[in-house]
């Protein structure tokens, strides 16, 4: 047991943080959202730097991929990083295209990054298939929820190995939890900084105990999401831990949306302020895979399976 980054993880952290500071961030996300685009340049740079292929690296492994997904979300990176570094490698090995989207057959109305994807992984119960460009139709849809999304139809997929759907879902949950954890952390930190500076009735708003307690509850929820996800990733996304991390993350995403906007007041609703870059994404993430309902079902079935 060791809760600090090891030497390899620290090196990855330092290099990845520098890249994200240079290429990602709220200003970049805001610019991309104007054209409903995503950050292909960031994906290319991350690929060239080797950050997208750590899943099978002995010194790094899936936890490093999960951490990168978390850090990227924290930097408001607008790219499907978790799908590429965690989900796809779990069922397709290490020869992967750059941009990958994931969808569940029961929910194709608004799939993140589908129009931009080189490859679509489609989950259907415990089975999964993959479809390259041209083997599925993706029509962009308008959304305020922070990501480019598309309606997916007519998927002509190639089946993956039997039960690959279950594997995809386990890693998809970890990936979602990582994205939520990163976005949640930045949203909480941003709100704390704002309330430290914002003076009303001659005092910083953060000096009121009623406000502090709510902020701290948000901080604890973000911690819970972050560490539950990290443990699940380390252990290889076992069904129970992966679903548990997703439940915890979704609960955080749910609560933070209301709390952080309420605590920030009207500035939080404006496009110029960064909060929406995180909170609106949290909403999209918390309903993916049928949200808490889906994760809860997976969790109870994994922890307390039917006899026989």
């Amino acid at each position: 047991m060791d809760m600090d980054l090891n030497e390899t993880q620290s090196v990855i952290h330092d290099a990845c943080s520098k890249l994200l500071a240079r290429r990602a961030g709220p200003a970049r996300a805001r610019e991309l959202r104007k054209t409903d685009d995503f950050d292909r340049l960031l994906m290319i740079e991350m690929d060239e730097a080797g950050f997208l292929d750590l899943f099978y690296e002995p010194d790094a492994g899936p936890l490093a991929g999960a951490l990168i997904t978390e850090w990227a979300a924290s930097a408001a990176a607008l790219a499907p990083i978790g799908a590429r570094v965690l989900v796809a490698p779990s069922v397709m090995g290490d020869r992967l295209p750059l941009v990958i989207a994931i969808a569940d057959r029961t929910n194709l109305a608004a799939v993140r990054f589908a129009a931009e994807a080189d490859l679509l992984i489609l989950v259907d119960g415990d089975e999964a298939s993959v479809a390259g460009r041209g083997a599925f139709e993706a029509t962009s849809v308008r959304t305020k929820f922070g990501f480019p999304m598309a309606r997916v139809e007519n998927v002509q997929g190639t089946p993956l190995l039997a039960s690959a759907g279950a594997t995809v879902k386990r890693w998809w949950r970890v990936s979602l939890a990582a994205e939520i954890a990163g976005a949640a952390r930045s949203a909480v930190d941003l709100t704390i900084r704002y309330l430290q500076d914002r003076v009303q009735f001659d005092r910083p708003i953060a000096s009121y105990q009623a406000i502090q307690h709510r902020l701290v509850e948000c901080h604890v929820l973000a911690d819970a999401a972050q560490w539950s996800m990290r443990e699940a990733a380390f252990h290889g996304a076992p069904a129970e831990l992966a679903a548990g991390a997703a439940v915890t993350a979704c609960e955080a995403a749910h609560r933070l949306f209301y709390e952080l906007h309420q605590l920030s007041g009207a500035i939080g609703f404006t496009s110029e302020y960064d909060l929406h870059l995180f909170t609106m994404r949290l909403q999209a993430l918390r309903i993916e895979m049928n949200g808490v309902r889906g994760h809860a079902r997976a969790l109870v079935e994994a922890r307390w399976p039917a006899a026989g």
């Binding site: 951490l67 902020l215 380390f234 307390w304």
Partner: protein
């Protein structure tokens, strides 16, 4: 970052579980016993643990311990509570009364008390809270006045768990009424049969014996009962309270209850009910979150750092877990949960006490705010 248990830690857990499963009946819960029976049982059980030095494994070897790691202390706590906490009040002696004696006791005090604690011969209670001093503990008014021969202790302690069966009270009293409030406090090790000390139960909605009142009416305490320097009790207490806040792996006991309730739900065909399903899952996720958050606390301890914020964050998470498990028991048991002895009835007690015992939820939130939001903005 590594979430694997070392082979030594895994082996310790395995040995401990095998021992507990051999010694205890299935679904054992010491807190379901009446206090006198509980005391008899826990003393006998503690003696068995003591034979293996498993009652005080974290202590130095010279005092009956094994100098085990912080991680093995967590394993011990997890497995004990998962198996119905057969030590009952003994966990308090082990987690912080003994360490307080090791930290601040003189040689006579160590020689007299530590052996008794490490053998499981004695039960201690904690004389902290008063009618006017709860979260604001340093506001305590129980006074100990030196009359030339002894301290004379006068005052009232309340909410004192285990006082009705304890052999000793770890008492905080004011020895300098003029000093600023944190500076005039001393610690006393008071036998509960001391003349002038009256202990009576405070009736409550909780199980019998949960709360007691201790009235000190001119209790004479020789200087040898004082632990540490006169007026120097607070720094000792502050250090120990961090231990107490994380001392009990509450999430693990709650998880054991949840597992039992989930099994019943499965057998009753309630898993198809989405409300039950979500309640169970949210409770399990909350228990897991508390479990992984305590790892950060233990990691800091293992690295000789003093956990502060991580400990408070863990406490908040474990309160959430206790409450989520209670919600799940209510959803599963329905009206049956109103019956005495039901999981709901028992878990309700734990869910309520989690947010008040050993520092209220609001105190934890204040302490986190001080660090995370900052002293300046927090107006301190």
């Amino acid at each position: 970052m590594d979430f694997d248990w070392s082979p030594e830690d895994a082996a310790f857990r395995s040995d401990l579980k095998a021992f507990l499963e051999a010694e205890l009946p299935p679904d054992f819960d010491a807190f379901a016993m009446d206090p006198p029976d509980q005391k008899v049982f826990s003393k006998a059980f503690a003696a068995k643990l003591a034979e293996r030095r498993w009652l005080t494994p974290a202590w130095p070897r010279e005092y009956g311990g094994l100098e085990q790691s912080a991680w093995q202390q967590l394993i011990l706590s997890e497995e004990m509570v998962a198996h119905g906490e057969p030590r009952t009040a003994q966990y308090m002696c082990v987690n912080w009364v003994g360490p307080a004696l090791i930290m601040a006791g003189d040689e006579d005090q160590k020689a007299y008390h530590l052996q008794r604690i490490s053998r499981g011969d004695v039960v201690w209670c904690q004389g902290f809270s008063e009618p006017g001093a709860g979260s604001d503990l340093a506001n305590l008014r129980t006074k100990a006045v030196w009359d030339g021969d002894d301290y004379v202790i006068t005052g009232e302690k309340v909410w004192t768990s285990y006082a009705d069966t304890a052999d000793y009270c770890f008492l905080l009293a004011r020895t300098d009424p003029e000093a600023r409030k944190h500076h005039g406090i001393s610690i006393f090790l008071v036998p509960t049969n001391a003349p002038g000390l009256t202990i009576s139960e405070i009736p409550s909605i909780f199980p019998k014996g949960a709360f007691n009142q201790c009235v000190f009416d001119g209790v004479r305490a020789p200087a040898s009962w004082r632990l540490g320097p006169e007026n120097g009790g607070w720094p000792i207490i502050r250090k120990l309270l961090v231990n107490e806040r994380v001392g009990v792996a509450r999430f693990r006991r709650a998880n054991t209850t949840l597992d039992r309730v989930a099994k019943a739900a499965r057998e009753a065909g309630l898993f198809d009910d989405p409300v039950v399903c979500e309640a169970l899952a949210k409770a399990q996720a909350a228990c897991d979150a508390a479990r992984v958050l305590i790892y950060r606390v233990v990691d800091q301890r293992a690295k000789q750092q003093i956990p502060e914020v991580t400990a408070y964050v863990y406490r908040v998470a474990t309160i959430r877990a206790e409450r989520a498990v209670y919600e799940a028991t209510m959803e599963v048991e329905g009206a049956g949960g109103l019956l005495r002895g039901s999981h709901s009835a028992t878990q309700g007690f734990h869910a309520l006490s989690a947010g008040t015992a050993t520092g209220t939820l609001e105190m934890q939130l204040n302490l986190i705010a001080r660090e995370v939001i900052g002293a300046a903005a927090a107006g301190r």
